[in-house]
Symmetry: D2
């Protein structure tokens, strides 16, 4: 089975790793991000690498804070790849500021990207899935989705909002054949472009991606709503 | 000590009960709601009832989805009562709809009232508290703030967002003398205006209010971030 | 209403504070502990202090790790004070050791006191409450009851066991008029007998006790199953 | 890499499925259970089926409520297969009774098997793992490990105790190269020996086992402490 996948929010870390793995598994993967040049390059790289498993990538410049941009992004995907089978809600905004330093605009940006953007992408994708054979929606969460972090008000609030959405969707849509999962990433992700001093303290994006793929492949008789992931040395 | 209190979102159920109790305890209570006629009547009733403990009420027509209305509401409170000591973030929007029936406007309304409104009210109130002797911020939460409910996507998402905000604020502001608490109301609140068949299945708003007042009165050496409240017969 | 109270596990910190407050509120309070001399002195002190509100204290030497001792302790209480209305499951054993250093005896001691002891005390007390007008069972929990602590295996396991018991009992017994509550104490309790450097970093036992009494007094239309308590400066 | 695995508590449902899969993956799997005849037959069946991947099974009659039996069980495993790499704490006792119907013996049996037995097995297995190249400990949990169930006091208490243990061990042992995971099984497991009316309402044990194997294979840079599993139609 070759799946059509939307990764909503692709940057050089985890998003790129998920895209690479899903293409390797034979998926047609649409890369959503504001930064057109980055996803163009990534799509080209992934399409060059592919074997003959049918996997391919498509750059779809999209502003996840803009409802119209999301709508037209999904139109582009459907025209190129057909209806969506898998959605990864991966974007998050949110400057790490406390209550008093945070501006209204910063608060709104965080909620618009992490919550409203995820809502609109889910609405688009799930519509396709219900017309088809079901599908999978994965939310990339964070520790701040389960424990509000002091000094990161908008990030905490937005990540909680997405988790509440995921739980609501899981209960609504599970019986209709759609697997909704929320992954709590607990720790820093290994930066792709610079050396770090103690790499064992970071999550390797390819290792995270193993669990994303496992979620996609789970049998519907034993679906996971939530799992956490952290480096083995993480204090928590 | 006579406290200045803002109840952000006053209706005839729990909001009115909190207002009445806080006035009885000698607080100066500002009633925020869009519906001017309701809070005018309530303020009049509370001011007629008051003893000589200094408690009084003020109707402050405010749209919690509108940042400017919130700002001018707090100005009105400060002019009438001085700086704010206690804030109750009590409003919530959110039609109970699932993913596909929910409109963009309904989603935004829920987040604007429950999350953005609470953020802006907190910013206003906490600014006053930090200039003074600290204070208390109480969030009225719901079961859907801890377990996303199928078919109530916007409500779940917005209630989660407010809980994440409360947890972030508690960690940021506790050391600065501000008590942030989140109350999980698990069950229906006894309706004020109509008979119900089995009243024991509902939370009595005056009983809820006992716990709100307890939170205000807690000593800073033993503050509660979260407590749940439910009728003794509730299944959960 | 004058209540008969059993505090299962009384030491000089929180247990003594709860006992003092409950006697002040007019309760007849039975003090359970292994150390006979300590509870004898405390009972004498509480009985000397009492006003004419009917409150009194009784020392009942009891080993909470010993089923027969628990049974005879409750017999003593019933003879002196009549059936039990309130139980505080307050004891906890548990050396703070990791997996490999912990002996079988240490593990068993922790579970016997915190879990089995609480089970047996609850069985005794709830039997009385169901024959009467209901009642209240409060469990003194800890952060390690909600997040297992590395290096404190037996303590974490035993505290989790007690919390699971409290949740099961709340669901079973709430509809029958018995309020079961679990209090998560997050932080160190101010030591009664020695000076500490930064007292604001500790929970004042009398402040904790305010919330215990609030739980006893809650109306059955709005009962709390769980609340947390921590000093305002606590990092968490 | 060929791993030595102990499955502590093997019955015809999930335990047998885990054993079969792990043998298929080339593991040497020791089957612990009181019922000698069942595990003898299962071991024979698994050994007949095996290909040439090195996987094999060994029946080790063991009473998980008996510390000496556990110790000698691990001796048998080490003699046959060498030091242990993976432990699955799978046993649980616990009659589903409420507070007043439960006997002391039933309570103790539940705690002895689920908590003390898991502690002793973990102590044995982790000693081996620390001498070697690390390893994995998986706890089979249940919904009652995260929400105490009314009328199932001993089961809830014992399952909570095991979860607290798992969390404590994860924090202690993760940095030392040992992956501790707790799986929340939410729903009934498809019975192996009888027809059921709506099989889609049950978890297929082989589907559960996919996630167990995924946990064993996770890279140490992205380990899961907890995941839940439920049938897609489950209400929760």
């Amino acid at each position: 089975m070759s799946r059509t996948v939307v990764i909503a929010g692709v940057g050089p870390g985890l998003g790129a790793s998920v895209a690479r793995r899903f293409v390797d598994e034979g998926c047609r993967v649409a890369l959503f991000a504001r930064s057109e040049s980055y996803i163009d390059d990534l799509a080209e790289e992934l399409n060059d690498d592919d074997g003959d498993n049918g996997g391919e990538a498509l750059a779809v410049p999209t502003d996840l804070a803009d409802p119209e941009s999301i709508e037209s992004g999904f139109e582009t995907v459907r025209e190129a790849f057909g209806p969506v089978d898998v959605l990864v809600n991966h974007a998050s905004g949110g400057s790490w500021k406390g209550l008093l330093e945070l501006s209204l605009e910063e608060f709104e940006r965080a909620l618009d990207v992490s919550a409203r953007g995820a809502f609109l992408c889910s609405q688009e994708a799930v519509g396709d899935m219900l017309d088809g054979d079901g599908g999978t929606v994965i939310f990339t969460g964070a520790t701040s989705a389960v424990r509000g972090r002091g000094g990161a008000l908008a990030f905490s609030s937005a990540k909680f909002a997405a988790r509440g959405m995921a739980q609501s969707m899981a209960r609504e849509l599970g019986p209709r054949g759609i697997h909704v999962a929320h992954v709590v990433i607990d720790g820093g992700i290994l930066p792709p472009t610079r050396e770090v001093e103690s790499p064992e303290k970071y999550l390797d994006p390819d290792a995270i991606t193993d669990s994303y793929w496992h979620l996609v492949e789970q049998d519907e008789s034993a679906w996971t709503l939530e799992l956490d992931l952290r480096p083995h040395v993480e204090e928590f």
